[in-house]
Amino acid sequence: MAKMILTGNESAAWGARLSKPKVVAAYPITPQTSIIEKIAEFIANGEMDARYIRVESEHSAMAACIAAENTGVRTFTATSAHGLTLMHEMLIWASGARLPIVMSVVNRAMAPPWSVWTDQLDSVAQRDTGWMQIYSENNQEVLDSIIMAYRVGEKHNILLPTMIMEDAFILSHTAEAVDVPEQKLVDDFVGEFEPAFKLDPQDPGGFGSLIMPEGPYMEFRYKMALAMDEARKEIRKVTEEFAEVFGRKYPGLVEEYRTEDADAIMVVMGTIASTAKDVIDALREKGKKVGLARIRYFRPFPYEELREIVKKADMLGIVDRSYTFGYGAALYTETKGALYGHTDKPIKNYVVGLGGRDITPDVLVKIFDNMLKIAKDGVVDREIEWVGLHGDERWS
């Protein structure tokens, strides 16, 4: 195992390199581009044995990955924001065709107005595409998650694609020490890709044909739903095995931090978790009992874990770095949906950090204080609250 100083994007490129995809098709977009540049370099230098397709848009990038994967080879791509949303049609195709493609996504705000900074709406808006979704907290997790994603996705009872998120700039362009595992270990762990079905002139078949309403369309979708449930179990198993081989233990679908005996637990995705952990340590020293649940997998959604977590505290504060216009942000509504009938404890939604607005420890301290008050009073002051809007006295 070699320690290297890598940015989140370099970690993603290394995760891809170690997993040995045979085809990479990609299109540049800030702040993702350095992933595919690094991969282009690996391939050109002969360090990666793959074909690199320089396509003319993200839509084509995913289309090319789909076709390549259909021939029975492993594929990889990366994108961000508008690139990801442009891919939307092809994302649904990839999962519907049961192709375990793996993709890195750098979370960036959607325009207008133009912004290249972090915000999770781009990937949250892909919730219903049938892709598994992992939100990373650090660069090591970016790399390791890619390896695990191939392993989980390619299982024949699963066959679903995965996107692995990293917050723009906070991870994508920030370097830290990352363990780059030995190739041999990854080879053994991920194994050769064995497609369940593929385009094969010796055994011709049709892909994507038309189905009448009385045909098995609904059954195909039901099988996908079952596969997502299978994935939930497989993810827990694979993270255990990963720990045995590589010595790094990931918490399956949800990471808990100091949730024991907590009065209030914050639920988040992405890098906010790191800041929150520091804040929690500081608050605990002052006797404030707070904890954290970091959602690694937003899809499949960890409803079982959350039903256990809610038992440990008097309230949950759901912190979202995106908003779903009309009612509540996605992590909030999903959590509430999962807990309906399982708890009557107060749950509040905090909307933070859109368009890359900085989430400082101070902001989180204020949120925790508000959460603790709700835990004590047993009533939610506001169901959904946008934190730190210009001119808002409550948060200044």
Partner: protein, 278 residues
């Protein structure tokens, strides 16, 4: 006030000076092109309220943010469909697309092809720097065969688009190519095109020393401009075979097509409405 000073002030009034300095690297050709465009607008005496500028994404795409007229900084590749919508709603206005090669010919390529085919009444100024500049120098649809980019570290195997060739083959009534070295010709060409109708395309070969030149032994802006100067040949009405643009080779420039009287899409549409109402 001297005439020069008068033009300078008028050009300045067409810029959102509060947004300056611009993001472009020093020595970049996009500023030269924008200057030529604005000077042509001043010369043509176009009312700024009757002009809209539409850009896509990329270094050139930032132009929309600097012009002091109604402007759109649209999504990647979609400058032309936005412009088509604008022109349709406000046929009285001059609609100019000012965008880059990566934006117009890769992700937005299909829009270019179909808008040209339909002969929409818009002027497209396509700044061609051979590369995706904004994202740091990846291969694009106009990267010359053999050129070096971050995603073609050993040379580009693709064939690039020949933009005026493409436009003319689709029936565009006005198509020209200049480089940033041909400042007056470029300005004159834009001036003429502003007076024409239909789908008008002006390709501007522009230096990107920062991420293209650097990898292709032309590190500084001057070397790139000298390369344009040395290799350019003016050949108006060049045939398809003559419109060469190669890596390390000839750059054939000029007005390759300028015909008048071809009905625009907007005119044909009005005509149908008129006939239907009879």
């Amino acid at each position: 006030m001297s005439m020069m000073e008068d033009i300078r002030l008028k050009v300045e009034s067409l810029l959102r000076t509060e947004r300056l300095p611009h993001v472009w690297c020093s020595g970049c050709g996009i500023g030269i092109t924008l200057n030529a465009f604005l000077r042509a607008v001043v010369r043509a005496n176009i009312d700024p309220n009757q002009l809209a500028v539409v850009s896509g994404i990329g270094c050139t795409g930032r132009a929309a943010g600097y012009v002091n007229v109604d402007s759109f900084h649209t999504t990647h590749g979609r400058a032309i469909p936005f412009a088509v919508g604008l022109k349709f709603a406000r046929p009285d206005m001059h609609v100019v697309v000012f965008s880059g090669d990566g934006d117009l010919f890769a992700i937005g390529g299909n829009h270019f092809v179909n808008a040209a085919r339909r002969n929409h009444d818009i002027l497209v100024i396509a700044v061609n720097n051979f590369i995706y500049g904004m994202t740091g120098g990846q291969h694009g649809p106009t990267t010359p065969t053999g050129a070096f980019t971050t995603t073609t570290p050993y040379g580009n195997p693709d064939r690039p688009f020949n933009i005026p060739h493409l436009a003319i083959s689709l029936g565009a009534p006005y198509a020209a190519r200049w480089t940033t070295h041909h400042l007056m010709q470029l300005q004159n060409s834009i001036y003429t095109a502003l007076h024409r109708k239909g789908f008008r395309v002006i390709e501007v070969i522009s230096q990107c020393p920062t991420v293209y030149g650097r990898r292709n032994s032309m590190r500084d802006p001057l070397t790139m401009m000298e390369y344009f100067k040395k290799n350019s040949i003016i050949k108006h009405d060049a045939t398809f075979e003559e419109m060469e643009l190669t890596y390390n080779g000839k750059i054939v420039v000029g007005v390759f097509r300028d015909v008048q009287g071809i009905p625009t899409y907007e005119e044909r549409y009005e005509d149908i409405i008129r006939r239907a109402k009879k």
